[in-house]
């Protein structure tokens, strides 16, 4: 953990705003009791949201897509609460928040283009070969996946 120890000279106070704390110094700015209250409030919020999401999962909101959106939205709110308060991103130097956001942004890019392709692809095997089970011809020598057919 003391890997940075060998840098005897501290290059401080020379960096651009990206590395600078937003105002003053966060660590000692609050009194510990108030801070503990914030954490308790955060935990309560997280537990309530957990109850809501479990409850919501027993209700059908029209389509399964609606249920997915609701569950993931609540999960995202919880994730934001954890990162802002438990992980101190709210009072942290901006550079750390930028790093964290970049991580999720690039994960988003990854997911977005994957789903763009899969969602718009003509899916030929094996899920959309609607051949009745009984009549399914299994040609000899045909590779396994192509011969797979699906019964609905």
């Amino acid at each position: 953990m003391s890997d940075a120890n060998i840098h005897g000279n501290s290059h401080s106070g020379t960096h651009s705003q990206l590395d600078a704390a937003p105002s003053g110094h966060h660590e000692h700015a609050h009194d510990p009791k108030a801070e503990a209250r914030v954490y308790i409030a955060t935990l309560s919020g997280l537990l309530i949201l957990t109850a809501i999401t479990v409850g919501a999962s027993y209700i059908q909101f029209g389509s399964s897509a609606a249920n997915i959106v609701i569950a993931l939205t609540i999960a995202t709110i919880k994730a934001v609460l954890v990162s802002l308060f438990f992980m101190h991103l709210l009072h942290e130097k901006p550079v750390n928040a930028i790093i964290a956001i970049a991580g999720f942004l690039f994960l988003g890019i990854f997911l977005m283009f994957d789903f763009l392709d899969v969602g718009s692809r003509a899916n030929v095997q094996p899920t959309n070969l609607h051949v009745p089970v009984a009549a399914a011809p299994v040609a000899p020598g045909v590779a396994t996946p192509a011969a797979d057919v699906r019964k609905e």
């Binding site: 890997d3 060998i6 290059h11 991580g103 890019i109 283009f113 763009l116 899969v118 718009s120």
Partner: protein, 551 residues
Amino acid sequence: MEHTLTPGAVLGDRPRPEKNYLNETTGIWSWMTTIDHKRIGIMYLCGVSTAFLIGGVFALLVRLALLNPQHTLFGRVWVTAETYNRFFTLHGVVMVFLFIIPSIPASLANFVLPMMLGAKDVAFPRLNLASFYLWVGGAIFGITAMVLGGVDTGWTFYTPYSTTTDGSVGLMVMAAFILGFSSIFTGLNFIATVHKLRAPGMGWFDMPLFVWGIYATALIQILATPVLAITLVLLLLERTYKIGIFDPAYGGDPVLFQHFFWFYSHPAVYIMIVPGMAIISELIPTFSRKTIFGYRAIAYSSVSLALLSFIVWGHHMFVAGESDLANVVFSALTFLVAIPSGVKVFNWLSTMYKGNISFETPMLYALSFLFLFAIGGLTGIFFSTLAVDIHLTDTYFVVAHFHYVMMGSTVIAFFGGIHYWWPKMTGRMYSEKWGAIACALIFVGFNMTFGSQFIMGGQGMPRRYFNYLDKFQPIHAFSTYGSWVLAVGLFMMAINLLVSLKTGKRAPDNPWGGTTMEWESSSPPVFHNFEHQPVLEHEPYDYRHRTVTHV
């Protein structure tokens, strides 16, 4: 601190400190346990050079196998199709994972980047050493895989072939996995270093452009490599437990593997090329004695290349069953890559315009780079054009294109960088004459080898094929002869550098009249890089105050 260098200063008349990083401590153990970024950089340089040698031998064997369509040597058939598949796979795997990805960042940048920032070391020196040993571990896995039968999947490990073929695919995949973490640690270290260890007074836009390039590279290493790691784990699990994600026989989607793989491996192409561009951004102003043209444009173009690299990976899958919509989107986005690349090239050319250009060996490599990168970059645009891509996919045109970018650009820039910083790293000057001859041979040999492949590819010669039509024989033979010229040039370069360690003239502190901070140290530098903490007093590449005499 002097603003101006008197003509005598560059000739090294300053007394040299007795102790430097090379002789501060001695013995093999002092190297193996070092946390000095300079020594780790040197160890990496030795490691990646060895990998380059191994990968190079496989490349020569590939070319030799294709000398004639009968695969005969002195009248006898000497190679089978299976062996040939292993040759090109091992060439690819070694060159990509063991050599080119760590090449510039882990060796040269490890040595130079902290010095350019005026720092004593990287942010996490022990992590830096750990990264090196991970590289060694990955190399051991890779070499074990080669000894135990080799791998015939190509470096891309496409499923379902890679999940069903025999051979040491598992070991090779483990090797790539471990090397990925080595790369992640290097990137993490550089980002923290750039953020926190810049010299007093050095803002973001006072950093040398090499640092900008390496910073952009480190961003890619951090953001893309983890996806490769998990993809390789999935591949291993699919191979052993048939988990049903990539292999259609078990309900998987092979195109998904390509998505996962290229989400890393396309940005990885920029892990390779952006550091090369970063070196060129140092060489051109130094040897043109002129302030870089468009500093901010080059800095931003490095970062935007890094970001763009994440949204174009689908162009590797235009004919792999990707949807038409995704094809069109990826095609359009891929064209964007040309913009920052073009920005860089035009800024380099503008820097040279009316400059006081001299043709030392590093500059010869930089000029080779400009020529070869222009070809490699422009042929890349062919592939982003959907209709043309369908004709050219999986032909030698692709092989030629990416070798012009990888070998012709990155490796040439790497050689330029080695020659540029060699006096700083070793304290010795090499022979300029032999350096120039080697560079010329490499340039000619390279163009013979790969220029001819553009022609074959355009005529439809498919890549990775063992057999070919007789009409391609003369071009294939020409390409093979070119590979020999290239090999001679490379050996000449290596011998020239190694000989200089023994008999080379002692290097002055600043042999080329460079303006960045690493030249303010002695050659070779002392253990903590600088005798005095350097302070930024002028912009990078500020030649207005400098009078420079050539050695």
